[in-house]
């Protein structure tokens, strides 16, 4: 049997890989990809807890389904914003969008 803590460790590592990617990447789309990784790590957690700790309920499953749905919506909106930004700045470099400086 794989102890639940191992699964949780996996999701933790994935989350922090995603965080590393978010802070390091210069490109808006790659930042979006890192965010997706973070969301997925949370999904793994929910599903694992539901299966191993609370098998009688279905809450974890539904939570993860809804997270997926929301992540899809959010990714769509993010892409729309990126396209808009690309149109005005001709680049998707994240440092270019610093009009709110100071």
């Amino acid at each position: 049997m794989v102890p639940v803590s191992h699964i949780v460790l996996l999701s933790t590592a994935l989350f922090f890989i995603g965080m590393y990617g978010f802070l390091t990447r210069k490109n808006l789309i790659t930042m979006l990809m890192a965010i997706e990784l973070m969301l997925n790590s949370v999904n793994i957690n929910f599903v694992a807890f539901n299966k191993y700790l609370y098998p009688g309920k279905l809450d974890g499953v539904f939570f993860s389904i809804f997270i997926i749905a929301i992540a899809a919506a959010e990714a769509a909106v993010a892409i729309a914003i990126i396209i808009n930004l690309y149109r005005s700045h001709k680049t998707i470099d994240v440092d270019a969008a610093s009009e709110l400086k100071n």
Partner: protein, 190 residues
């Protein structure tokens, strides 16, 4: 042969070995996704990572979630990302590297976070329940549309409205400027 070796030396079942393989896949491809200099490659690595996660769901016998993951995440979001890479004409280009200070700092932060997480999680005794888990699609379907106690019809409806809003929002945000006034003008001409 190697399998026998592994099984006797490490006293692992196949169940566990498969888990560790899948976990390794997920982590490695995830890491490559965030560090790869070429954007298209990092998108593909992301795809593999998400497929790995779907495999993990299959390993946990949560077929429905795995199916949803593949169809929505892999088939929808990653495709969307790839579209956007092409739309912004960055397919072949290299992503700019972050300054080394930032890389070191971020990796230190990530390491710190992982270690902190390990420490906290290690202390918690996860009480594994031995009940059987009924994961059939019919049960999920019934729960989703159930408006009584234990049902999820309200979040379902809310998410559907959210998706509608997201759709409309995307269209409006990404619209070419001037398109709205053009359609009004054509209406008047008619």
């Amino acid at each position: 042969m190697i399998y026998e070796l592994l099984k006797t030396s490490l006293a692992l079942t196949a169940h566990q070995i498969i888990f560790y393989l899948i976990a390794a896949t997920i982590l490695v491809t995830g890491l490559l996704a965030v560090t790869s200099p070429k954007i298209f490659r990092s998108a593909i690595f992301l795809l593999f990572s998400l497929l790995g996660i779907a495999g993990l769901y299959f390993w946990m016998e949560m077929e429905f979630v795995a199916a949803v993951q593949i169809s929505v995440y892999v088939g929808g979001i990653v495709v969307l990302i790839i579209f956007s890479i092409f739309l912004t004409e960055h397919a072949g280009k290299e992503a700019r590297k972050a300054p080394p200070v930032r890389t070191i700092a971020a990796s230190l932060a990530a390491l710190f976070g992982i270690i902190l997480g390990f420490l906290i999680i290690g202390q918690y005794p996860f009480a594994v329940s031995s009940e059987a888990f009924d994961n059939s699609v019919s049960r999920i379907g019934e729960a989703m549309l159930n408006y009584n106690e234990g049902g999820f019809s309200l979040p379902f409806e809310v998410v559907s409205i959210l998706l509608l809003a997201a759709m409309v929002g995307c269209i409006v945000v990404a619209m070419r400027p001037g398109v709205l006034s053009k359609t009004e003008k054509t209406k008047e001409e008619k």
